[in-house]
Amino acid sequence: MSAPIVRAASGGRFLRNRVLLPLVGVLIVACAWEATLLVYQLPVIVLPAPLSVVQTLGELVVTASFWHDVGISLYEFGAGYALGVVGGVAVGMLMGESRYFRMTATPVIEAFRFIVPFAWIPLTILWFGTSFTGKILLVAYAVFFVMVVSTARAVAQVEPTLTRVGTMLGMGSVALALNVHLRAAAPGIASGARAAAAIGWIAVVAAEYIGASAGLGVLITNAASSLATATVIAGMIVIGVVGAGVSEAIRWLSRAYLDYR
């Protein structure tokens, strides 16, 4: 039973599941927020009211500089993500296909995998300053290892019969890798790609917090230094919404490709 069939069955259910219930979730958070304000009598600098954040958000989204910041962050993310996915899938495939490559690459990859992207931020600033390059590479780095590991695992789990069938049909090792293994591993790679998107997006914003001239992270740090707390929170909400949108877009793309399941 796949999701599209359920959705087609009833527009009312779609309204309930995809609009009303999510709104209830948002409302609960807003109420808890408002209640906290009432109970602790917090000043606006510490925690502004939900409505004033919404109002700030409304003012923010009509400015050109806001969209410039969103665009910069998305650009850094997109370029780094593409680089990391392509490189990670390529290396992961090689690890899945060649025992020699796997044996050689595993210790290096296992070591680097646990050096989280944030640990690299000081070095990237030292090497690349506040340029795009440093952040693109940081995202690529974060995404790369997730993709290597998920691709190698997905290729290793390909049903052995499919390899035998491919060989029987006349495929050599390259054709097997591309036409059978990569294709059969696609669902696993796609779910890795979604996890990687979240990590990459987090890496972009984190890098911008520390050293950048534009982007959502900069928007937030600038607002924080001028004690515009409502803008800080509005920026945080934007980060969350854009991240969720990116993740949904990737899921939609991968579903279009994997609908045979």
């Binding site: 019969t161 035998r164 069938v165 060989t167 029987m168 049909l169 059978v180 059969a184 045979y260």
Partner: protein, 268 residues
């Protein structure tokens, strides 16, 4: 790397000779090695159908993998038309596996056609040939279905169509009718016999069903328990295939006796 052998595109070639020469094989497992084949030698003449029967786990499927070049024997030589079978893709053969092994991302007709395009046929021709063979195995209405929409028996028939569509000179079948219901099996067995007449491939057919072996085989290769050797090679004559004849009963008893099954069903 001989160039004289053209891809399956022409289709009209007859089969060649398949020979197992003193084959030993073992598998490595976590707890040591298991000897599977112990000095197996037999030959299948060009265009002949050899049915391999034996207890389960005796290495029947291993024999097929060796003949297909999917495995290299620990010792011994497998020959096709006199030349040693090389490991890797071999364009003279088609094989249907016990697990059908359909590509889940391709619909049924593309699953059948992909072997033909891999071997150099034009896509249009490949799809046309795929349709023909899907008609033959009774799946004309399921050409656009995806493997996850098929029953086990249907998937297995797609696997058979895929092997047959290659019009191979050597056809290897691993219990191809095992997951098919009894009625469809009889129908498929008859279809299969007439299909073989088209281009007379050499066939190695693994089955656990002795009556199927008599019905389809020119010879029956009876294997022993693991580590398996060849117990006997039983030729099958035309009159043996008549299930109502005493010759059929004698042949059945002979084959079963080689497998260690004797006497009445009630244990007498």
């Amino acid at each position: 790397m001989s160039t004289e052998r053209t891809p399956a595109a022409t289709g009209a070639q007859a089969g060649g000779a398949l020979a197992f020469e003193r084959i030993f094989h073992r598998y490595a497992t976590a707890s040591g090695t298991i000897d599977v084949l112990d000095d197996v030698s037999f030959a299948v003449a060009p265009g002949e159908v050899a049915c391999v029967v034996g207890p389960s786990g005796c290495g029947k499927s291993t024999l097929l993998s060796l003949a297909a070049g999917l495995l290299r024997p620990a010792r011994g030589t497998v020959r096709w038309d006199g030349a040693e079978v090389k490991l890797g893709p071999n364009s003279h053969l088609g094989m249907a596996f016990q697990q059908p092994g359909l590509f889940p991302w391709l619909n049924v007709r593309r699953n059948v056609a992909i072997g033909l395009t891999t071997r150099g046929n034009a896509k249009r021709d490949a799809l046309r040939i795929a349709d023909e063979f899907l008609d033959t195995v009774g799946l004309a209405d399921f050409k656009d279905a995806y493997p996850n929409q098929l029953s086990g028996g249907m998937a297995q028939r797609v696997g058979i169509a895929r092997a047959l569509a290659l019009r191979p000179r050597l056809l290897l079948l691993d219990e191809p009718f095992a997951a098919v219901d009894a009625f469809t099996r009889i129908k498929l067995q008859q279809e299969f016999k007439s299909l073989l007449k088209l281009n007379r491939p050499t066939v190695l057919f693994v089955t656990h069903d002795v009556s199927e072996a008599i019905l389809l085989g020119d010879v029956i290769v009876v294997m022993s328990q693991r580590p398996a050797g060849v117990v006997r090679i039983i030729p099958v004559e035309r009159e043996d295939r008549n299930r109502a004849s005493p010759a059929y009963a004698r042949k059945l008893a002979e084959a079963l006796a080689c497998l260690g099954v004797t006497g009445d069903a009630d244990g007498g």
